[in-house]
Symmetry: C2
Subunit: 185 residues, 2 copies
DNA sequence: ATATTATAATAACATATGTTATAAAAAATA
DNA sequence: TATTTTTTATAACATATGTTATTATAATAT
């Protein structure tokens, strides 16, 4: 009946994800994306109404990617907050362009920070809810302070102003957590 | 002998600064800038070789602006680190686009974080050097931790995830400073 | 094998942007 | 007043980008 499709939506989205990860979201154009996917611009506009629609779907993909990254990140520490920080900072170091898009850009496609953090399965919140079992009497104040701290380190890694190795980061996070903890029990 | 210039370099740079402050550096184009300055694009290229050169000079201007902002920011607290944090976070809240350009973007025109922080007169460093007189035995570790913390708050303000008022910020910074201090003396 | 039809490539169009060429305007001097 | 010279404006050119029109291609039903 009709010609078989050789370029799938998946192909295009995968190419877009790679570009977002390697070069940054803003470098994706119809033509550069087509080149990355090994086709002309036509298949893109067959599958997506326009580039904006692609951007939205790509953003969702990145949210899911962060969720999966976070879920599978090994818990090496006894303290949930330290584990959270380790995973978050490491994500920023390993995926600076994706981190920028998710957590340091203005257009978050209508999603709040918590929407993104919780991803598809609310992993972060679940984990932090356990924090009260670790001697922390004010989990929400602790969450705020720790969050500011780990977000700061992650953002500094983007500009090359933070490059501690994992064990140094663990020490830093433990010290900070204990410091905050001392003031709230 | 010749026609008098009506559009000065100053006019152009001022218009560019306004645009960088209000709309963001990346929205400056030859034509939008000309419109802001009330002229055609010609005067821009008479004064600057190209748009990149304008960008560099504008960046210097913003560095100086931060320096002046920081210098004139009232010191309300006994602790230098708290004052530093207050000024830095407030700058981010009041000038999100300029903050983004200086402290949260990759292209810093070859300047390091410390170049920018110290501005034209090294105010930040001078201030922090006094910190050792305030019971802090390890000023550089304290500087690192406080810097990560205040940078985190400032960056979160960019994405709308931090909007504490000044007195709340003071409390937060004092608590954090004291928490860190307790662990290092 | 031919006709049909969805897919993909090429080309085209509209707009945006940096930059340069050309023309108009204005100030000072002869 | 006419000439010269610098500034400014207008127009043009080159490239980049989103998007659409047109053409070519290939798979399948007849």
């Amino acid at each position: 009946m009709a010609r078989k499709e050789t370029i799938t939506k998946m192909d295009i989205l995968n190419a877009a994800f790679e570009m977002a990860s390697e070069e940054g979201f803003e470098h994706i154009t119809a033509r550069t994306l087509a080149a990355k996917a090994g086709c002309s611009t036509q298949p893109i506009f067959r599958v997506y109404r326009n580039m904006e629609e692609l951007g939205e779907e790509l953003f969702e993909q990145v949210v899911d990617y962060f969720g999966a990254y976070y879920d599978s990140f090994p818990r090496k520490n006894d303290t949930p907050f330290v584990n959270l920080g380790l995973a978050y900072i490491r994500f920023a170091q390993d995926n600076p362009k994706l981190f920028q898009l998710l957590f340091a850009s203005e257009k978050r496609h209508g999603k709040s920070l918590y929407d993104i953090l919780n991803g598809s399965n609310g992993a972060v919140v679940k984990e932090i809810n356990n924090a009260k079992f670790y001697g922390c009497t004010n989990p929400s104040a602790m969450f705020m302070k720790m969050w500011i701290f780990i977000h700061g380190a992650a953002c500094m890694s983007l500009t090359g102003d933070y490059d501690l190795k994992e064990d140094e980061t663990i020490t830093l996070l433990e010290e900070s957590y204990n410091a905050f903890l001392d003031t709230m029990r």
